[in-house]
């Protein structure tokens, strides 16, 4: 079977105009991400990792170059189509969880489904299923403030999966969690990616992520430093832990 790319980035550059100086954050990035893979984007702070990540998520537009999601050039999309893309194709997970504080866990999970036009009852049913899948059965009526960090991130994972997206974008999903909870979230993401055949793209500098990644893209100074597949990776992480 031919490999299918869900994300294709061609020669993307991004400049930020800070008035007196222009900062070239991305200096020409070419990438292809295969459907169903678990991909980590790694790089030091300031390497352009987050900027690249925002481009892939359709949250920011490149200065030059093109970003294709499912072979659609996102620069060509209007506001409605972009909203549709964010709603149906992409699930976001944030470092700071970003649950809507005034809504319960279940309402947070059903919100993207409401936007997608799913009838209320079906949305509640699926929301409950997703919450039990992420291990939060019986916590659906809790507000985010009544949940721990790890539990909040589980709700966020369930919310990201609500509309069965093709891609889950996770920005430092373990950044605000302790070691053990972080590991739980990582294995949950891996499990969901295998279960639902969804592509997980995660920007991180958490080395725990490497163990589950099919591919790691190292970004350095606005360029792709190297791309490692899983088999090359084990040797590398082994080397680091020694």
């Amino acid at each position: 079977m031919a490999k299918k790319n869900i994300v294709r980035v061609t020669d993307v550059t991004k400049d930020f105009d800070l008035g007196k100086i222009v900062v070239n954050v991305l200096k020409g990035i070419d990438l292809e991400i295969e459907t169903g893979k678990y991909v980590s984007i790694m790089g030091p702070s300031g390497s352009g990792k987050s900027t690249l990540f925002n481009m892939i998520g359709g949250l920011d537009k490149p200065t030059a170059g093109k970003v294709f999601i499912d072979e659609v050039d996102i620069a060509q999309l209007d506001a409605y189509e972009l909203a549709w893309l964010r709603c149906r194709k992409i699930g976001y997970i944030f470092q700071t969880f970003n649950l809507i504080p005034v809504m319960t866990a279940l309402e947070n999970v059903t919100l993207p489904m409401t936007f997608a036009g799913v009838p209320s009852e079906a949305a509640v049913q699926r929301g409950m299923d997703l919450l039990s899948k992420v291990g939060l059965e019986g916590r659906h009526a809790h507000k985010p403030s009544e949940l721990s960090g790890g539990q909040q991130q589980r709700v966020a994972v369930a919310r990201a999966l609500a509309n069965t997206p093709a891609i889950i974008l996770a920005d430092e999903p373990t950044g605000n969690l302790d070691l053990k909870t972080g590991e739980e979230i990582i294995s949950l993401l891996k499990e969901m990616s295998e279960d639902q055949a969804v592509t997980v793209i995660s920007a991180t500098h958490d080395y725990k992520m490497l163990n589950v990644s099919d591919q790691v893209i190292w970004i350095r100074d606005g360029r792709v430093d190297k791309i490692q597949e899983r088999d090359e990776l084990e040797i590398h992480t082994g080397g680091m832990s020694s």
Partner: protein
């Protein structure tokens, strides 16, 4: 394509209602500004309605009492009307109220930047965000303006009772008073909506990438 992302009306009302409930104290303060301004408007209007009806009843004693209460009545007058000074004060108080509402709503938008950004990441259109804020303002407006109008009306009636005696209560122009209450309520709702427009558009224009920023 345009209909692919939706926010049903009842859902937006629900979200707006929850937001008000979650920030109840803040909403209460914003609403209180409206209550005060609208009650002043309603008080002035209903005061004039009552004075007009007393003037129209052709009772020399009543006209004398009106004069004693400070109304300038020239023989042959059929209605009293507001003085320019009174109008000016009412307009000024309403203006101050709008500025207060804009200020409170801007704060509310700033506080909810991350929430708005997240909603946009989940597929909300700019119009959803505007709608949620407008719904909130409409609810606050309705509650505040109605309370204000009734409060102002009650004070006006009470002061009429004290100044013109129990007799005046018999000839109250209920129809005009009700329409003055309605008018004040409508003005109050309009003020609340006018105050939220700029903050709501500011919120809607926000880029979803803001939600990704880590710093608060």
């Amino acid at each position: 394509m345009r209909r692919l992302v939706v926010l049903p009306l009842n859902k937006s009302i629900e979200i707006a209602y929850k937001s008000i409930r979650a920030r109840f104290f803040r909403s209460l303060v914003t609403t209180l500004t409206l209550v005060l301004a609208v009650s002043f408007l309603s008080f002035t209007q209903i005061n004039i309605d009552i004075a007009d009806s007393l003037l129209a009843c052709d009772n020399p004693d009543m006209q004398q009492t009106l004069r004693q209460c400070g109304y300038d009545i020239v023989p042959g007058d059929t209605s009293i009307g507001t003085s320019p000074k009174q109008r000016w004060i009412v307009i000024l108080s309403l203006l101050v109220c709008v500025v207060g509402i804009i200020n409170a709503q801007l704060m509310s938008v700033t506080e909810r930047f991350r929430e708005i950004g997240t909603m946009k990441c989940l597929g909300a259109l700019d119009s959803f965000i505007v709608r949620i804020f407008v719904m909130e303002a409409a609810m606050q407006g309705l509650a505040g303006a109605f309370t204000g109008a009734v409060l102002g009306g009650a004070v006006a009636l009470l002061s009429a009772l004290i100044r013109f005696g129990v007799d005046s209560m018999a000839i109250l122009p209920w129809q005009t008073i009700t329409s003055s209450l309605g008018f004040s309520t409508c003005i109050g709702i309009a003020l609340s909506l006018a105050g939220v427009l700029y903050p709501a558009f500011m919120a809607a224009r926000m880029q979803p990438v803001e939600a990704m920023r880590v710093e608060q």
